[in-house]
Amino acid sequence: MRELATDPRQTRRTIIGMAGLAALVAALLAGIKIGAVSVTVYDIWNVISAPAGNEVYQIVYNIRIPRVFVGALTGINLALAGCILQGILRNPLADPGIIGVSAGAGLAAMTVMILWPGLTALVPTAAFSGALLAAGIVFLLSWDRGVQPLKLILAGVALAAFFGGGMSALMVFHSDKVQGTVNWMAGSFQGRSWDHVLMILPYSMVGVAGAMLAHRYLNALQLGDEVARGLGIKVETARFTLVVLAALLAGSAVSVAGLLGFVGLIIPHIARMLVGSDFEYLLPCSALLGATLVVAADTLARTAFSPVEVPVGIFMAFLGAPFFIYLL
């Protein structure tokens, strides 16, 4: 900027951005190298340059690499969704679950896994549909000439309670089958592969593109509806579009990762502490941090008690609780 003096925070933001990117790359590489079965860097190189159909290839190419990517994309989606929702609802405790996405996905997935076990290939699709359906119901309930933030939160809570009841009912009446669903419900990347990467990738791309366009509107919305209108912004349209974007991001993440909590809630907070609340920097920082956290947590979760895998959602819960106490 020629005339305007440079914002002194710019340097710090750039450094954090680079650090975030470096951390993500490191997490990805570590995730590919580390696992229940030890592989050498040489093995990894072979898999990429001279793929053979052997065990190492199966492990690295079909199991580990896609899993790491699914984790990263999930982290991006959930962090962006949480960021956007906290911005629209002007509520720092908003997370993707608040619009009913988790409740809808959970009920749909559980229903398929327990009642129609033959259709488990459709669990991600069911979860995604359930997520969007629930979000749609929450929108309808809270619509009053536009998306009203307080009503949205209340409707989301109501829906989560209702669907939660449905899930409890399933658990009680099919208590012997619950065993087989718990890993999904806790949030896990068990058995995820390239199919799942392809499932979530388009939404991540849409999400990142949307975020690049949306930051100005999110910032303007922080100034209050009246000021935003005074600046010529169509507040209702902006809010609606952003909520839909958040629902797609969260729904696609839940469909491949199960009910993975905390990412959408904590990551925007950490990002805000690092780069401030300007969405132009908050969104990309959250995306980087989200991806890094999920990949790192999953790597830890699947190797800490090797070869037994702990669902990554459990690790997140253990990280999340102390974080909130810290925030206090």
Binding site: V37, Q58, M113, A121, Q179, G191, V308
Partner: protein, 202 residues
């Protein structure tokens, strides 16, 4: 089951004696049968049933004694969300009795508390079991081919030897998802049919 444990004080107050049993091993079935036989005052009848079961099982075990032990994996759930049976689970115990090597067998935690654990797919790929058993939530036979298809197309599973050799078998829900009680003999027969097909054909 915790739910059942909660009943104890309630029934105690009502003066109703209650006995809680957990049946997680083959041996426990035998013991329970004996116990009920005595309780009902018909120990001989219990003995007959026990003898029947035991002979069935023994014959199965004997027949297979000289055959190479296949390595297996018992999966509960579905490709979306699954756990593996350890030696501390009923099906794991059964598999062990029949001489197969369960690659998840020993991961039952200290004190054998964990019957089913989530195992890393990498570990499964490395161990590459000869056979995979699926215990699903359904009693439907048509599911078998569906799951076969699903696994054959799943990038993480399809590289496994058991999948390419078509040795993925769905175990009947009523015999394996919940413990089969007196039908344990049938459960063993089913397993044997899969584990040692040549023997069963005789």
């Amino acid at each position: 089951m915790p739910f059942h444990h909660n009943l104890i004080p309630v029934l105690d107050k009502a003066g109703i004696p209650i006995l809680l049993q957990s049946i997680e091993r083959y041996q426990q079935i035998i013991d329970t049968l004996q116990f009920y036989g005595e309780l009902a005052g018909r120990p001989e009848q219990a003995q007959t049933v026990i003898a029947e079961i035991q002979s069935k099982c023994q014959s199965v075990i004997d027949r297979n004694k000289n055959h190479p032990a296949p390595s297996v994996l018992v999966v509960f759930g579905s490709p979306a969300s699954f756990n593996m049976a350890t030696d501390s689970s009923f099906s794991g115990d059964l598999v062990k009795q029949l001489g197969a090597v369960n690659i998840a067998g020993k991961y039952d935690g200290s004190g054998g508390q964990m019957g089913y654990v989530p195992l890393s797919m990498e570990y499964v790929a490395k161990q590459n079991p000869d056979m995979i058993f699926l215990i699903t939530h359904s009693s439907d036979d048509k599911i078998n081919s569906k799951f076969q298809n699903e696994l054959a197309n799943h990038p993480a599973w399809r590289g496994l030897k058991a999948v390419t050799d078509n040795k993925v078998h769905v175990l009947p829900y009523n015999l394996f998802a919940i413990n089969p009680g007196t039908q344990v003999g049938d459960a063993m027969t089913v397993l044997t049919g899969f584990l040692y097909p040549e023997v069963s054909k005789k």
